[in-house]
Amino acid sequence: MKRFTRASIALAAITALLTLAASPALAETSLLVAAPGEARVGDTVPVIVTVTESGAPVAGAIVLLSRDARFGGVGGSVEIARATTDAAGVADLSYIHRAAEETTTLRVNVVDSDTTLEFDVISVGEPEQIFQSDFGVNLPGLGGWVLIALVAGLWMIILSTVLQLRSVAAEEAGSSDRPRPKRRLLPYAVPGVVALIAAVLVAVLIRNPATHGDLSAMGTADRVPHSHVGDIEPLSRPGSDPNTVDSVEGVVMMVAPGLNAAAAVATEDPIIDGARGFFGLGCASCHGLDAVSGVVGGDLSSAVDDGLDEFLGDVRKGPEGMPPYPDDAFTDEELAAVHTYLVALLGE
């Protein structure tokens, strides 16, 4: 059962009535929409639409729920649910609230009619993982504890084996009329080492939920997620129309990592070439899609501030743990284009 905030229930619903000019097919069509005004990412949001015509309910009308969306540089209206009205003229729709942006504008319309109604749903709550997979078979009782028990059990057996060394050493004293041997370290050191390694391995497993239950708890640049659905894509040329061919080229570069840069046809636009270089040469794999936060590499805003010469020098020499890239890896022209792209992306 998905949660709704108290506020969203209180607002329960934006209720709107819109009457538009009748279409030839459906004269005097009116739409009444009831939906929560707020939702958390992941909530299933009910949208109840009542269709009337001159005040009378319309049965059998097909109602579409859609929103504008953009993916991979291609945008447009995306249908997210559809339903047919019942005898009371009511269509029962719902959708999963996935958007990370603050406000999602949804649209309801009736097929074969110009009647359209738009309404907003506001995202509330802490940012969460947008897609939570429902895949998997949950076997009761099966979990990480099985692995912990297996590893601990194995190492306990190994430990019990090496503890026999103490018995071997202890037997020496009573073995002959030799002078009593001095205390030996090895029969204690070996079990000690075994116990230590076992403790480390088991501790790693036990700590697993603490280190991976909440990635943000790590709080370091090492573990910053690349991007969220809904983030502004850095693929298109800054300031350009997202539906232009430029953006689509960006997508091609994204889906084909490792694309040989030489194989890409150079354009007359250094920003496009730079974007192609940023993704095609592999910069984005460390510095992130938006060039400010990657799993490995740092924020490139400073590279923009420092100018081209320093940027070239950094790439060639490799500052702060970044591997240096020699001339045969990237040419100065390619790097200059990447710099131009970064300036356009981050410079403002």
Partner: protein, 453 residues
Amino acid sequence: MDEMTQWRERLEERTLEPVRTTTTGYKILISVLIAISGWGVYAWLFQLDNGLHVTGMRDRISWGLYISTFVFFIGISHAGTLISAILRVSNAGWRAPITRIAEFITVVALVGGASFIIVDMGRPERLLNVFLFGRWQSPIMWDVLAITTYIMASVIYLYLPMIPDLALFRDRLANAPGRLGAWRHRLYTTLAVGWRATPGQHRSLAKAIGTMMVLIIPIAVSVHTVVSWIFGMTLRSGWNSTVFGIFFVAGAIFSGVATLVIVLVILRKVYHLEEYITEKHFVYLGYFIASFALIMIYFNITEFLTKGYKLEEGEEFLFRQLFLNEFSAMYWFYLIGGLIIPGLIILNKRTRTIPGIFVAAILVDLAMYIERYFIVVTGLRVPLLSYEAASYSPTWVEWSILASGVAGFSLLIALFVKVFPIMAVWEIAEEHEARQLSAQPVATASATSEVSS
């Protein structure tokens, strides 16, 4: 001095021989191996300095020689498990002269294999993150657990049966001259943990060995299964296989026995161990190789037939590159040169000799390395989207580090025989005495029979 005492004395002398004498040839060998290893270390430092860009690996084919070598080394580590543990569990008496070398191959190969993982890492200092942030959902973490456990268990399993022999060295080399002699004496005294061969010590040791020999078999099987899961847990064509675990284990034992044969032939020749390591040992090991060659052929058929019958798009690409195109020479050498021909050499009575089995073992090891290589590279090469297949070609850095790995493996074995007992003296002696005892009543009965007739 009776015959048994003389035999025992000869055995001990033969085992002590490598420790006592150092030939010029040995010094040259060590120098060459150190030089090759040193070159590999230089190549690795060069790689650290310049990044993985200096290798042939890129984003799409991100594993190459290093991971192939890792898998190969982990594979040959199964020599010790099979020959030592399984034969010890089954109480096969003939194992005694070869167990020590098999167990040492296991430890050295595991260390070598694990180090290739570090070499493969562009940022090796991040290895610590495995322990700081390791997550059990990751097959890489399973590998860390399995290999760490196997290394520890193998070292203990090598050490425990060596204790009586270390005590022998302690006593026999007590008066060795020079600082080296004194250092060795201290080493043997420490490692022998006061072994005086009392019944109580024998009981404690037998208990420990008994536990480890059983425990190490499932650990070894799990290790190579988990290594295969690094590949098998993905949806890549060529790797997405349910039989990969057992396929890898079979290949591991196959290459492990072959490696043992190669090392045994060399050490037997160099240190004149012909009296103890006889043709019988090689023939028995040869039978293992032949059996596993058939098992490997079976796995090839079941693996490729089930995939080929359905032939999904990615599998078709994989089959073409493997059987017909870029990797076909490797695959058919592996199948014919590494599985069929060694089997035929061993099954043919005329070639079932020590040189014949040696050649078969070399072919097997070559083929198994190639198999590891093409499993790694061909799987990564299948395009996941409609772009052209990437190519991979190892650079001088990778070849140098590979050579260094092989040299390091040889170097550690060469150093081992200079310090530790090369054969399990007490086990050979026990086996010999048991055989002598069991032979005596038969001789008496036979004599009695002749008299009465």
